[in-house]
Symmetry: C2
C-alpha cells in the first residue's frame, strides 16, 4: 500500500516532511575500500585493473584484453535486431537534434572604458563514460551520455562497461556504435573510474567522467573529483505526477508503475486535487501491476516508497512539487502551461496527458540523465554544457588600465597583496 | 631560483612532465575528522557548531550569538575608509555589469512531429558563501561569490566567516554590505559547511555552498556534495605568462611576483620565445622582490614553484599552455588575438601588455574564482550559471506520441522495462 496523505490533515506537515526526508538507499560506507582501489590502480596500472576486474566481475581479462576490439564490437552489434537498431538510431537522431540547440554562444564586447570582456566556450578534450553492466545495462544511457559530448565537440570518448562473467549486452555495444564510440573497455567499478581518471598504460586518462553506477562507482567519482570533472551522483529515480480531474487514472497509474519498476528505491508520487482520481489511480495501479510480467519489483517499490497526496488546489500541488524537487514532474491537466511557470525545482517537466515520462527516457530528445534526490534544487540534467568549459577573456587598453588602477590598487592594499598593486602601478606612465 | 627549461633540451619532455605533475599542496587526509564534525553538527545542531567554533577559532560564541547583528555589520563597515568603500563599490558595479551578460536564455520550440522541447533556467533558492577568516580574508572574494548569485536571482545568501580570537576583518563585512548580504554567521571550518548543508535551529539549510577554504572546508564540501551543490575545490593560485620579445621584462616580472605572493603553493610560469627576455625577467623578479615589503612569501614561492621556459615559437608556447591548463594565462605580445584561439584550456586569458592579471582579481568585471590545478581542462570560473539550474520541458500531442511510440516501446522492451512501454502504449487509441 502506498502512503496516503491529505494536505488538510492536522499532521500533514509532519508526515510530508517525513516523506521528504525518507532514505531510499542503503548508505554504504565504502570510502576506504574505494580509496584502496584507486591507490592500487595508480600504483600498478593495468595489472591492478585486470586483477580487480577478475575478482569483482569474474570477467577473465588480462592487461592486454581490457579493450573491446573493433571486430568484437561489430560482431555484438550485428546480433541486434534491425528494429532495435532503427529505434536506437531514431533516439540518437532526436537527442542530437535537441542537444544541438544547447550549444552556447561566445560573447565578447568592449565596455565604455575600453575594457574587452568575453566568455568563450571550448569542449573538454576527453571524456570517460561509465555504463553499468548486468541488471541496469541501458543502451539508452549510452546515447544520453555520448550524444551531448559529441555535440559539445569532445574529440575522444572512452566508454567502460563491466562484463560480469564475461557477458556483455550486445545492445549496449550497438548503441555505442550508433553514437560513434570506438574506444570501449570491459571494466567497471571503482577500478574503471580510477583508470579513466589517472590513466594506465592501455587506457589514456580522460578529463571528465560521467555516467551512473553503484555505491562503489559513485564513491570513486566523488574521490577523483578535482583530478577529473564528474557529473552528478545519481540516486534512485523518481516521478511526481500532478493531476486534476481531467486526468485518466489508467494513464497516471501506468506512469507511476513505470517509475516504480526501476526498483532500488525508485519513488512514484501522485499529487491530485481530485480525491476520486486518487482512489481510481490506486485501484488502477493494483490492477495494472497484476498484469505486468515482472511485477514484484514494481509492486515492492510502490508499496514501500509510493505516495498519493490529495490537495485543495493546484497551487498547493505546485508548492509541494517545489519542496519535493523531483527528477521528473508530469503535469496531467488540460492546461499544463498554467502550472509550468510555478514549478521552480524539477529535473524535467512533462506537459499534459499525452506525455508519459517514458517518452523522455528514450526518444523525446531531451536528456534522461537528471538530478535525483531533491538535487533539482541546485542541479540540472546532463547537457552539452557539461562537456564544455568557459574561459574568461579580459583586455585593457592603456587608458582603461589607468582608469581602473586606483580602485584595484586600493583593494590590493587592504588585502595586503602589495605585489598585486605594483603589477598595476608599474604599467602607469608617470 | 626558479626552474629553467628550454624546449630544445633532450630531456625537456621528462622535465616538463615533472613540472606538471609536481604537487604544490601537502595533501592532508582529514576525511574521518570532517565526517565526525558533520555527524556532530547534524546530531546536535547549534550546540555542536558553537562548541567546534570555540575549539578551533577561540571565538567565544554561544548558540545564540552565531549571527552578526545588523548593528555589528554596520559598525564594522563604518570603520572602513571611504576610498576603500568606493573601490569596492566600483568593483561590485563592474562585476555586476559583466555577469548580467551571462544570464542564460530560455528556449522552447516545437519540432516537426509536434513535440514541444524546452530548456528553462531558474535560480537556486538559497546559497551559502564561505569566506575564509584570518590571513586570506579577501573582501574581493565576497563580491565574486555574491554578485553572480544575486544576478542569477538567488533570493537568500547566507555568508559564513570564521572570527579567529573573535576578530573580524571589517572590510569583509563592508564588502558584504555592498553586495547586499544581511545574513552573516561568525563560523567557519567543516562545521560551517555542515550547518549550511543540513541546517540548524538558527541557520536554515541552503541549496548550494560556494567559496574557498582550507583542507577541512574543501573536504567538507566534497562530503556534503549531493546534499547540496558545491562549486569547485580550489587549489593554489597560478599564472602562466606567454611573452615574446615585445614584452616589458619589468611588467612580466611584476605579474609573476603578484601570483607568487599568494604563497601556499602558488605558481608563476613564464613561457617565452625570447631567451634574452627570459634572462631579463629573472633578474627583474629578483630586483623587484627585494623592494617588496613582505618579500619572503613571494620569494619562497618563486624559488620553489616558479619556472621560466624558453621555446622556439609561439605555437609551441600555446601547446604548453594547453597542457598546463592554467588558472590565469597572460598573453604578453603585441597581437594577443593571434594566440587566443589556440589556447583551449585556461580559466581566464588576459590580453596584451596592459592587462595584468591583478586587474581581473578586482575590478575588470570578470570573476576571479577560477579553476586551478589543471582543472581548466574540464571546469569553468564561477558565474551566473553556477547559481541557476536548467529544467527540461517535453510535451507531446496525441499524434506526436503516436509517431514516437514504436521506437520508444522497442527500446523499453530491450531494456526489460515493460512498464515503461505500457505507459506509452496505453495512451494509443487502438
Amino acid at each position: 500500500m502506498p502512503l496516503r496523505l491529505d494536505s488538510a490533515q492536522a499532521d500533514f506537515e509532519l508526515r510530508f516532511s517525513q516523506l521528504l526526508a525518507g532514505k531510499r538507499e542503503a548508505s554504504q560506507d565504502v570510502n576506504d575500500t574505494v580509496a584502496g582501489i584507486i591507490a592500487d590502480v595508480r600504483a600498478r596500472g593495468d595489472l591492478a585493473v585486470a586483477e580487480l576486474t577478475n575478482r569483482f566481475d569474474k570477467a577473465g581479462v588480462t592487461p592486454t584484453t581490457l579493450t573491446f576490439s573493433p571486430d568484437e564490437i561489430a560482431a555484438a552489434a550485428a546480433q541486434v535486431p534491425a528494429n532495435v537498431r532503427a529505434a536506437l538510431q531514431t533516439a540518437h537522431d532526436r537527442i542530437k537534434a535537441h542537444h544541438e540547440k544547447q550549444k552556447p554562444q561566445d560573447s565578447v564586447y568592449t565596455d565604455d572604458l575600453g575594457v574587452t570582456l568575453g566568455s568563450r566556450w571550448t569542449p573538454v578534450d576527453a571524456v570517460g563514460i561509465y555504463v553499468p553492466g548486468g541488471l541496469a545495462s541501458y543502451p539508452s544511457s549510452v546515447l544520453m551520455n555520448a550524444v551531448p559530448a559529441h555535440v559539445a565537440g569532445v574529440k575522444r570518448i572512452a566508454m567502460v562497461v563491466p562484463t560480469p562473467n564475461g557477458e556483455i549486452n550486445p545492445t549496449v555495444l550497438a548503441a555505442a556504435q550508433i553514437a560513434g564510440i570506438t574506444e570501449i573497455y570491459r571494466i567497471g567499478g571503482a577500478q574503471a573510474v580510477a583508470a579513466l581518471a589517472y590513466g594506465t598504460d592501455s587506457i589514456a586518462r580522460v578529463d571528465k567522467v560521467t555516467g551512473p553506477g553503484n555505491a562503489y562507482v559513485a564513491t570513486a567519482k566523488r574521490q577523483v573529483f578535482g583530478q577529473v570533472g564528474i557529473d552528478m551522483i545519481a540516486g534512485p529515480s523518481e516521478v511526481l505526477v500532478i493531476a486534476d480531474s481531467s486526468a485518466n487514472p489508467a494513464w497516471v497509474a501506468a506512469d507511476l508503475i513505470a517509475q516504480a519498476e526501476h526498483g532500488a528505491g525508485a519513488q512514484s508520487i501522485l499529487v491530485t486535487t481530485d480525491p476520486r482520481l486518487a482512489d481510481a489511480v490506486e485501484r488502477e495501479v493494483d490492477r495494472q501491476l497484476s498484469l505486468l510480467p515482472k511485477q514484484a519489483l514494481a509492486r515492492d517499490g510502490w508499496d514501500e516508497f509510493g505516495a498519493i497526496i490529495t490537495v485543495a488546489s493546484l497551487d498547493e500541488a505546485t508548492e509541494l512539487a517545489n519542496r519535493i524537487a523531483s527528477e521528473h514532474v508530469e503535469i496531467a491537466t488540460d492546461d499544463p502551461q498554467a502550472l509550468v511557470s510555478k514549478i521552480r525545482h524539477a529535473g524535467a517537466i512533462f506537459l499534459g496527458h499525452h506525455t508519459p515520462e517514458a517518452i523522455g527516457d528514450y526518444v523525446g530528445g531531451s536528456n534522461h540523465v537528471l538530478p535525483t534526490a531533491r538535487s533539482a534544487r541546485f542541479a540540472s540534467g546532463l547537457g552539452v554544457l557539461d562537456f564544455m568549459k568557459r574561459t574568461s577573456l579580459l583586455g585593457c587598453t592603456p587608458s582603461a588600465l589607468a582608469a581602473l588602477a586606483e580602485p584595484a590598487v586600493t583593494i590590493a592594499g587592504v588585502e595586503d597583496l602589495d605585489g598585486h598593486g605594483r603589477s598595476i602601478s608599474i604599467r602607469l606612465n608617470r
